[in-house]
Symmetry: C2
Subunit: 393 residues, 2 copies
């Protein structure tokens, strides 16, 4: 079973309709009965794929969503007016095949600059709702170069009743042959009002927007939260501790998925947690995390197991955040290596051993204020270059 169908009222499945040449699943659908309140976050790239443009309109219109159709193998990006028409045609095919009770959203991921094979997709949609068909898990239908499934689920007891959370994601950096995508689908059977949007976006900021494989941002990035109320519980009626427990549970599922994406980062051998504390503002803390996470010098040093505090300090220095070297301190994997802008004496062998682990960390204390942020990235390896230097085939 897919983790997105763990909450009540959700179903999800997929099949292979021939978009991918290798015959793997490439078309999936997530269905909510009753239709769900939807919360969304899309790529901020000025170049947005057709399905993103379409979903933004659906989200803006505000109706409840019953179906999310996803294909892999083709991103329907950089396809102009015809690409957008293809999305509306997909929705029309789905309306014909499934008579949805709510709105329909669409996601695509895969090669860019090519038109969708609409005949295959039309036939695939019909088969998705045909009796007697055999289906694959939804999560397989959304994967591209992912080497493992990213899934998470949680059962919460809120004011004495069970509420469920589920989520799946795909993404492993911007992927060969072109730019691919982070797609994430979160589901819950709690009823959420429209004003939950702010909390959802804050959770996106702390999870999917706080990871970086290579600093590149795709044209198709999408995160959707569907809340259908099938548990009979409503966020607005919960006690304050129960609301906090739900917020924390949702953030936890999203953080877990985000970290799984990093673990599957192209060529990644390590998950690097970057924590910035003591910043004058949250924006400063984020800027320092982001500069460190995107520095090729820092990332290659992590690949080499090198506690290279000079590179980390230099990245923090050009992040744009307020930084005073004499007040700055650095830790690698829990060991203080620099304070007040200068090197400390530490056990180099001990740190070198800690840096060999699959989970490593760097902590920057700016010593200027109370704000902090946490970010996740991976190292930069030979394999990353190999994957991305290969000619499109």
């Amino acid at each position: 079973m897919d983790d997105v169908s763990f909450p009540k009222g959700f179903k999800a499945w997929g099949l292979a309709c021939g978009i991918k040449k290798n015959g793997k699943p490439d078309l999936g659908v997530l269905v909510s009965e009753p239709p769900a309140q939807v919360f969304s976050a899309f790529t901020r790239n000025a170049v947005k794929a057709a399905p993103v443009l379409y979903d933004q309109k659906v989200a803006a219109a505000g109706g409840r969503v019953s179906h999310v159709l996803v294909n892999s193998g083709n991103a329907n990006a950089c396809t102009g007016a015809r690409g957008y028409q293809d999305v509306t045609a997909e929705v029309a095919h789905l309306r014909e095949a499934a008579a949805p009770k709510g709105q329909v959203m669409v996601s695509s991921t895969g090669v860019i600059g090519e038109y969708l094979p609409m005949e295959k997709i039309r036939a695939g949609i019909a088969r998705l709702f045909a009796p007697g068909e055999t289906f694959s898990p939804f999560i397989h239908a959304i994967m591209t170069t992912d080497t493992f499934e990213k899934r998470s689920q949680k059962s919460l007891l809120l004011d004495g009743k069970e509420v469920r959370l589920g989520g799946v994601a795909k993404g492993a950096g911007m992927i060969r042959p072109n730019m691919a995508t982070m797609l994430a689908y979160l589901t819950t059977d709690l009823e959420l009002d429209g004003d939950y949007s702010e909390r959802f976006l804050a959770a996106v900021e702390k999870s999917f927007n706080s990871i970086s494989v290579d600093g590149d941002m795709s044209t198709n990035d999408t995160a959707l939260l569907l809340a259908n109320g099938a548990s009979g519980m409503r966020y607005a009626s919960l006690s304050e501790p129960a609301r906090k427990a739900f917020d924390e549970g949702l953030r936890g599922v999203m953080e877990e998925l985000a970290k799984l994406i990093i673990r599957d980062g192209e060529g990644a051998t390590k998950l690097v947690t970057i924590e910035t504390v003591g910043a004058r503002s949250v924006e400063d803390a984020k800027a320092v995390c982001r500069a460190i996470a995107n520095s090729p010098l820092v990332k290659t040093a992590f690949f080499g197991g090198d506690a290279n505090w000079g590179r980390v300090l230099a990245a923090a220095g050009y992040s744009g955040a307020e930084l005073v070297p004499e007040k700055t301190a650095l830790e690698f994997c829990g060991v203080k290596v620099m304070a007040q802008g200068g090197a400390l004496v530490y056990d180099e062998d001990d740190v070198a051993n800690r840096m060999k682990a699959k989970d490593v960390s760097v902590r920057v204390d700016l010593g200027l204020g109370q704000s902090s942020w946490t970010y996740w990235t991976c190292d930069l390896s030979y394999e990353y270059v190999k994957i991305n230097a290969a000619y499109r085939t």
Copy 2:
């Protein structure tokens, strides 16, 4: 002869004083007689090395400069108050040894977080001005992991009289074992008034600030222009065409040095010229160039000889510049591959052949305005990862 001593009144030389363990030259001096008006540009990193902080004070005070002392092998960065005292001590030693007629500036490049070996430097400074010593070229004394010399010189005929320009630079990315540095020294025997600073900074923007090996910015980056008037010519007295010829000549020397740094970029196999035209503003054009130049996905694609327009478009899309996919066009090595946001039909073999050259290019036409910018970067290879992943030794 060093190219910085090509203009009249300049001398430059170096020697090995033992900072570098391999016995290579590591201490050099550039002398101007008469002392020179100095124009400077320093790293914008919040973490600045001690010599940068010192030179900024000298530049702000505004006196003419007769000596620039440079060491390699140790960056005197992240060395706090003691590091700054060491710079003042270096200046005092030089004053003792050479009785300079003007101000003294100091640069350092190499390992960070270690104090300068002041006894070696003190002895080295004395030897630099001792009779009977044998010297190495200045340019060798400033090199770290550079694999070749970066030098340029030009003779200009301005209003019928000769004026000379010279320059040397070092830098090959932020270099093992820690962050190293772009250092550039430009000289001319033309007399320049203080208000030339704006033009110098504009030329820096178009050369050293328009290159990127890996997007990292060092603590020690320094570009100095020394103008001593030894030609008997003065910029303020030149005809308008002669002034333009000088501006262009200076910019040309700086651009040549900047490109040489990129050619020597860590692991670089190609020089990539990135041109953005049709932007709404110069800032937008620069932002697009910078995003493309720093994208690991674009850089690995160039290493692989792949005209991957999707990655280039995506990088342009997240650059923050105004961009409308339907108005955007892309060229690789002179061949149009995308227009109006969609793929064009082109001869893939032809483009693949062109992408095999050592000099390749990408051109983005945003189709929105008249502003443009040019930027240079290198590809991202296995060798870059190898160089930077190796543990500090």
